[in-house]
């Protein structure tokens, strides 16, 4: 354990090893003022590397250094080749990784090492257990890039229907916890659209409608959520569906709420939630794009973009003004041709 261990230089079982100090033969740049513990451990590490020693004590030593500096990729690399050379139990190594990945969640190496173990275990590994482990990791840090990357790698690597089956319910759970979790939205896209068409999913029309309904519901819940809008656009682009098909849904989001109008329940086109901040910038942009795609409506598109520049989204004023220009110039081209 870091902090409370006896230095290797004071351990009789290491007395056969002569530690090697770090070679800093010229004035070092950005030297780190290492703790005595780290300096001692890495001195013995260099010595075992030089001797090409592969042993149980090397595993202990590398684990110790990893706990002091989990990003030390050379130490991970040496540990991995030592595990293989000794034929050590990779199941045990995985248990150790359960602990280390939780403590050092933000370090790439803990996930990479895990990937090596699972790949090496092959048919003996338990990917379903891995999915559960990842879920626990996401409870601690729900947008961790490495954790999500590991999940995507795992699913693609094993590519078993039984594993994929749980992904949509899992994503929905994640989005119920935080509807603005873009990593979860991305994972939804990855699962539904980018990992092939699995048995039972052949009806893409059905899939498209399911995804549109789901996304509309989430937009209704929290309209100013860039992740949901990007997903919506992604689905429409991917399936080559015209943005205009969503016009009825979009319109109520583009203006302040009209309190006088009686609310009509339309399940296909859920209305913005009561406390939603309206008008919604992304909805105005979306409607403007619908206008832009229509004949003779470029001016209306430009007006909407202008309202974003001048009123609703001033931080992006220059960007919206560019969109105004684009809308008008593409209209000009249509007229000219």
């Amino acid at each position: 354990m870091p902090g409370d261990s006896v230095l290797y230089s004071e351990r009789p079982e290491w007395s056969d090893i002569q530690p090697i100090a770090q070679y800093e033969t010229v004035t070092p740049v950005a030297p780190i003022f290492y703790s005595d513990e780290y300096k001692d451990a890495t001195g013995y590490f260099r010595a075992v590397v030089k001797a090409n020693e592969r042993s149980e004590r090397v595993l202990q030593l590398t684990e110790h250094i990893i706990r002091l500096n989990p990003g030390h990729y050379s130490v991970w690399q040496y540990r991995w080749s030592t595990l293989l050379a000794l034929g050590s139990s990779l199941e045990d190594e995985l248990l150790l990784m359960d602990e280390l990945a939780t403590t050092y969640l933000k370090t790439y190496q803990v996930w990479h090492h895990r990937r090596l173990i699972i790949t090496e275990l092959g048919g003996k590994s338990n990917p379903a257990r891995e999915l559960r482990f990842i879920r626990q990791g996401l409870n601690v840090d729900s947008k961790n890039y490495h954790t999500w990357a590991y999940r995507q790698w795992l699913l693609a690597h094993f590519n078993e229907d039984a594993l994929w089956e749980g992904e949509l319910p899992f994503v929905e759970e994640m989005l119920d916890e935080d509807v603005r979790n873009n990593s979860a939205w991305h994972h939804r896209f990855f699962t539904v659209w980018q990992s092939g068409v699995r048995a039972g999913e052949e009806d893409r029309e059905y899939t498209l409608n399911r995804e549109l309904s789901y996304t509309k519901e989430k937009i209704a819940l929290a309209p100013n959520n860039g992740s949901a809008w990007n997903y919506l656009r992604g689905v429409l682009d991917f399936t080559k569906t015209s943005y205009s098909t969503l016009r009825t849904f979009i319109e109520p989001y583009t203006a302040p709420r009209d309190e006088s109008e009686p609310e009509v329940l339309d399940l296909d086109n859920p209305l913005p939630s009561k406390d939603a901040q309206l008008p919604c910038v992304a909805a105005i942009e979306f409607l403007a794009e619908i206008y832009e795609s229509e004949v003779d409506n470029a001016k209306r598109a430009a007006e909407l973009y202008r309202s974003l520049a001048e009123v609703h989204d001033k931080i992006r004023e220059k960007y919206w003004n560019y969109r105004v220009g684009e809308a008008l110039s593409s209209a000009g081209q249509v007229v000219a041709s």
Binding site: V29, A30, I32, K143, A149, Q152
Partner: protein
Amino acid sequence: MSQASPDELRLHRTGHISHALRCLSGLPGSLTSLDSSRMLIAYYSLSILDLLDGLSEKKKVIEQCREWIWKQFIHSEVGSGFRASPAVCVDEHAETPSSIDSPHLIMTYGALLSLAVLRDDYSQLDRSGIKRLLRSAQRPDGSFSGVPNEGESDVRMVYCAFAICTMLDDWSSIDIDKAITFVQHCRTYEGGYSQVPGQEAQGGTTYCALATLYLSPIPARLSPKERVQTIRWLAWNQDSGFRGRTEKPPDACYSFWCGGAMKILNADGYVNVAENARWLSACQFRYGGISKNPTETPDPFHTYLSLASLAVYQPKVPDDGDAGPGFDATWQLPDHDLLINARRETAEWALLHIPDSPRTESD
């Protein structure tokens, strides 16, 4: 330097210069996690000094850095290049280093640029060794790993490989087409690029992807439609500063990654320059250096990228047509080479002084 009026913001240049010099002279034990990337600390710190003209009359620092950086240039079985530090060197006099003491692509990129900041003549450079390193680091899928056959391989390393080829003015050791295909597969439905295919779009990897595509000697630029979508995603990521992923809070480094990506796409006119500078101003740490956000402590990585962003997006002095506080003369920074990510004169130095390929070179 002129005194800033109370309603004007200042770039604390002296503080940032001290921060960089402090990092070059030593880091506390609490930063032991940087042990595997000391060369990058050197690169960021030297690049801070470069942008702020902090190296003039610092002959000793220049000499020491030069000497230490060259000590990290090693020749291994997989090729030659720079390593992060001597942390796993087990015998300085051995002809070939141990298998885990390996040159690294990111460190090689950082070292080549650091040497340009130091105006080195590169006379010790082994060109063909670096070319061998590039060749052995490329994977069958077209990506590159930092260390051949080990660990991470993703769009960041592809970028470093392309930047190194640009500096060497030699692309013969890599498969450009394959690398481009890999980068294109990193494009996501949002219009940004991820670290490897299948993952979420992210600002840093989007910069790397675009810089790669625009450095490529083979035409690989975005289609007009892709360009429009990527600009949209980048523009939406501005929230005073920039965020790296949709719906995340801003972080100073993305002012360069996303802002830089906008400029690569010729969309720099759509960035809110004053807001960006105001955010970075707020990320300045009282005792020098710039942090990822106003509540964190600074580091050379965020400091350099913030300054690089400001070099690309110079707030006007004074800013016109903008309600917030203006900017005094401290914000003026030199021209920046966007694709190489260095002060322009420094990038030019590297291109000019890295020795050309001799005709007799065997590979």
